[in-house]
């Protein structure tokens, strides 16, 4: 119970403190201190009416106390406004929501991508450094260094704690969405449920930027995929869309995802995340309209120019009934080192009855596959030929 409150309030409290103190490390220390006090007191004396305001006020007061104590050491600290309240008196005024500023700071493109991801999970997601380290399969020490480097760069280079101006928004929002989607995609491999974490972040962003179609598009995409997660594996084995047990899909999440997609389209969304969400949504229908899926992938190719998307387009063309055209398209792609190029070729060749070539393609895919479920899947396909 307390844990949930803490996780919900962490980003809000931290954002408010970074805005107030102009310093990430100080803000984090002060927030940590306030949460520790709350964890001691609340179970005894009960939760305050406005936990967020209580935490922010307490953290601010602690930070100011500490700065006073350190004053001789910190002559360089920026001018601080005089403290409004001494001790732990709680200021009941509404705390301004600075989380959007925090998101844009954490996902600033001047930071290395791994730093953006780590900082977003720490600051916005409220995950502990150790959990983030486990999710990315690195040591806690490595993750701590990554976070420190990012925070140091923010401070040293003057990355603003601000929502970018309207002319910069499209570009910077793309960076934010890319970070969230990267966290989502990491969710399938790691031990911490990063998929759920990315969806949480997406929901926060959608509530803060309700008029941005791509935000709703990304959220819809993640929620619809997430709805199918239990059907993606059978034990250790990867299960393809066609063979998935639909009773394992979460119908509420699919409905929710579709509603989000409708919202994105209403807002005029035609961008890459909206298109991908539309494809994901079509793929949850009982009878999949493959020609329509192919048209959407074509649009996605036009938007992204990505050969991987071209490959997906070819798959949709095959599903729509033309594996020969799909194979011609696949053979034009320059993706020789990509495992799915070869597994797709194998599948297309199998359907065209060219079994020798299909075996060869599956063998090549097997050489390139790294994950155990993928390797098992490909070996099974090879045996079946």
């Amino acid at each position: 119970m307390l844990d949930d409150v803490f996780r919900d309030e962490w980003a809000r409290v931290l954002a408010s403190l970074v805005g107030f103190l102009g310093d990430f490390d100080r803000a984090e220390d002060a927030a940590q201190e306030a949460f520790t006090i709350a964890a001691e007191r609340w179970p005894v004396s009960g939760m305050p009416d406005n936990p967020g305001a209580w935490l922010v006020t307490t953290a601010r007061n602690r930070a100011i106390d500490r700065i006073r104590r350190d004053r001789t050491l910190t002559q360089k600290i920026q001018l601080l406004p005089a403290p409004e309240a001494a001790g732990d008196e709680v200021d009941d005024t509404v705390i301004k929501d600075d989380r959007l500023e925090l998101i844009f700071t954490c996902c600033h493109p001047a930071l290395p991508l791994d730093g953006q991801v780590a900082l977003t999970l720490r600051a916005l997601g409220g995950l502990e450094t150790a959990d983030i380290a486990r999710a990315f399969l690195v040591s806690e020490e490595t993750m701590k260094r990554r976070l420190t480097r990012a925070k140091t760069k923010i401070k040293a280079t003057g990355i603003p704690f601000a929502v970018p101006g309207p002319q910069l928004i499209p570009e910077r929002l793309d960076a934010v969405l890319a970070v969230i989607y990267l966290i989502y995609n990491e969710g399938y491999s790691g031990r911490v449920d990063l998929g759920a974490e990315a969806i949480r972040l997406g929901r926060v962003l959608a509530s803060l930027m309700p008029d941005q179609p791509e935000v709703h598009g990304l959220l819809a995409l993640m929620v619809i995929h997430h709805a199918r997660r239990r059907a993606r594996f059978s034990g250790e084995d990867l299960v393809l869309l066609d063979d998935q047990d639909r009773s394992l899909w979460d119908p509420h999440q699919i409905a929710e995802g579709r509603a989000m997609l409708d919202r994105a389209i209403e807002l005029g969304g035609r961008g890459p995340y909206v298109v991908q969400a539309a494809i994901a949504s079509l793929q949850t229908r009982r009878r999949i309209d493959w020609p329509q899926v192919a048209r959407l992938y074509r649009r996605l190719v036009d938007l992204t120019g990505s050969p991987v998307v071209e490959l997906n387009h070819a798959v949709a063309v095959a599903q729509a009934g033309d594996p020969a055209a799909a194979l011609r398209a696949v053979d034009r792609l320059d993706l020789d080192g990509y495992v799915y190029l070869h597994s797709t070729r194998g599948e297309l060749l199998r359907r065209l009855g060219r079994h020798d070539q299909a075996r060869e393609a599956y063998r090549r895919a097997l050489e390139l596959a790294t994950s155990t479920p993928e390797r098992r899947f490909l070996s099974r396909r090879l045996e079946q030929l």
Binding site: A110, A156, G158, I159, P160, A162, P164, L168
Partner: protein, 112 residues
């Protein structure tokens, strides 16, 4: 905050431009200093004019050419005063080298 912008260009790129365009680019560089946020702007002579100096064991050693042997060379630098990194990025993006195959490196200047 004070930032230094270091402008890297690929030698020869400039000559590849048609005359009119080259003149326009040069005019753009000349006009940089008109923006009050620039504290100083310096264009450097080509890298062939560089001399690198080291003092080893009390002796001054010289080598002909720039310190770093790279395809892009330092062509100039500016000091500017900007509110934050985003403002510095916006100014850097307007420097012709950034769109003509070179790059502009932004570094915050140590406060004294």
């Amino acid at each position: 905050m004070q930032y230094a912008l270091m402008i890297y260009t690929r030698p020869g790129d400039d000559e590849a431009l048609p005359d009119a365009e080259r003149a326009a680019v040069q005019a753009e560089y000349a006009a940089l200093g008109d923006d009050a946020r620039y504290e100083s702007v310096a264009q450097l002579q080509p890298a062939e004019t560089a001399t690198s100096v080291r003092v080893v064991g009390g002796r001054t050693l010289m080598t002909d050419g720039p310190f770093a042997d790279t395809k892009e060379v330092l062509g100039g630098f500016c000091l500017l005063d900007a509110a934050d990194l985003d403002e510095a990025i916006e100014l850097a993006a307007r420097i012709p080298a950034a769109r003509l195959g070179g790059a502009v490196e932004i570094r915050p200047v140590v406060r004294r």
